[in-house]
């Protein structure tokens, strides 16, 4: 009988002040074991000060095929970038 442990995605804060970053995945029966496994698999050389684990099945991802339409609303708003505005040189840095 198939009884595979669920897949968990692992996020690690590398050092204080940084965001958690996705580092990989692993299998574990529950959250507590997933944290312990993540420590053993992904922080053997002091790579982290904090670990998040989340069951992979709970992640919703955007779809690469819809990438054009999905990001379109902001693509057309070039004025959101500071380089849109020409400021005369004599004003100095802004």
């Amino acid at each position: 009988m198939k009884n595979e442990w669920p897949l968990w995605e692992v996020f690690i804060r590398g050092q204080h002040g940084m965001n958690h970053r996705h580092v990989g995945s692993l299998h574990a029966p529950d959250a507590e074991m997933a944290l312990k496994n993540a420590r053993d698999v992904y922080t053997r050389r002091n790579e982290g000060v904090s670990i998040w684990v989340v069951e992979a099945a709970h992640i919703t991802a955007s779809s690469p095929e819809e990438k054009g339409a999905f990001y379109e609303p902001s693509n057309s708003k070039v004025y959101r970038h500071p380089t849109f505005f020409d400021i005369p040189e004599e004003v100095g840095s802004m």
Partner: protein, 330 residues
């Protein structure tokens, strides 16, 4: 190389005219150096070949723990024991990074494990050779991990994102492996005459099996062109092997050991060493399952999987029971 003779799916490299529009876009992305990510469109043959290659690579890391695990309890000092233990633990980690990369392609960990245990998937031929004494721990770290690094450094640039990222992580850890092995060799090569003899013997026995890790010679390698076009193979077998020889010969000389192949000479014009090929009939025989340790290695993996079943099942049952109790309480 931890993946050898990976069968490339499909009928070979297609010309742009033979490709579908999707295949052409895909190849263009690869040619531009873009990474392919799990949810992106990819040809079935690319997916299949990568599953074979990453799976075989992962299996090599896991089976590769066995020849070194053999010496943990007999390490000569507590420090060497702690180092070897850390190295073997790293190999387990490397196997896990790679299994998780393979899983993004739509196979499960258990599928891959079962394919290995049933002999449907391979692991590197090198791990079918025995580790006879402590000097082999030096030679394995130095030569086997050294050869693996050459292959894996190139694969950091592979087209498949999760594979590439696993390689980056692995390469960071791998140089510890090679250095600890060379350190053992230095100690023994400069030790008593008996220790030096052991170091020489380990080098002599493992030299040709290490050369075999890169796979058959280019003229006999049928899987290269398509895999290189897909950038899941970055250099040919002979190119990588030459790099390994060029890097290793000066290290042998530094150790004051004799060259394991008397034919090794430096070609002043090319700057490369010429060397003798390993016995390819032995290589194909080991791949087929007839190496010194094939049966033992697979038996050890099967035993570990079977003996661990009650633990895997027990932990899963416990997790389900706890989750049910939590739901009931809410």
């Amino acid at each position: 190389m931890y993946a050898q003779m990976v069968k490339t799916a499909g009928s070979g490299v297609k010309s742009p005219e033979e490709m579908t529009p999707e295949e052409r876009d895909f190849q263009d992305r690869i040619d531009r150096g873009e990474k392919i990510e799990p949810k992106d469109w990819m040809p079935d043959d690319y997916r299949k070949t990568l599953i074979r290659q990453i799976g075989q690579h992962a299996h090599s890391e896991i089976v590769g723990q066995l020849p070194e695990g053999n010496w943990i309890t007999r390490a000569p000092t507590l420090e060497r024991k702690a180092i070897l233990l850390a190295k073997v633990q790293d190999e387990a980690g490397h196997g896990l990074y790679l299994y998780c990369a393979a899983e993004t392609l739509g196979v499960t960990r258990d599928d891959l494990t079962e394919d290995l245990l049933a002999g449907r998937m391979k692991y590197s031929s090198i791990f079918n050779y025995p580790t006879l004494n402590w000097a082999d721990m030096g030679a394995v770290g130095w030569l086997v991990d050294g050869a693996a690094i050459i292959n894996q450094v190139a694969l950091q640039r592979t087209s498949y994102g999760p594979y590439s990222r696993a390689m980056v992580r692995i390469c960071k850890e791998e140089s510890f492996h090679a250095r600890q092995g060379f350190h053992i060799m230095m100690k023994m090569a400069k030790g008593t005459p008996e220790q030096k003899r052991m170091a020489q013997d380990a080098l002599n026995r493992l030299w040709f099996p290490a050369l075999m890790m890169f796979g058959p010679s280019d003229k006999d390698s049928v899987h290269t062109a398509q895999s290189m076009a897909w950038r899941i193979k970055m250099d040919t077998n002979d190119e990588l092997r030459q790099k390994f020889v060029d890097q290793t010969v000066p290290q042998i000389e530094y150790l004051g050991l004799e060259l394991p192949d008397p034919g090794i000479t430096l070609n002043k014009d090319t700057g490369h060493y010429s060397y003798a090929d390993p016995d390819w009939s032995e290589f194909f025989d080991v791949i087929k399952g007839n190496g010194p340790c094939n049966v033992d290695r697979l038996a050890a993996r099967n035993k570990a999987w079977d003996d661990g079943k009650w633990v895997r099942d027990g932990l899963m049952a416990h997790a389900k029971k706890k989750a049910a109790a939590k739901t009931a309480a809410e």
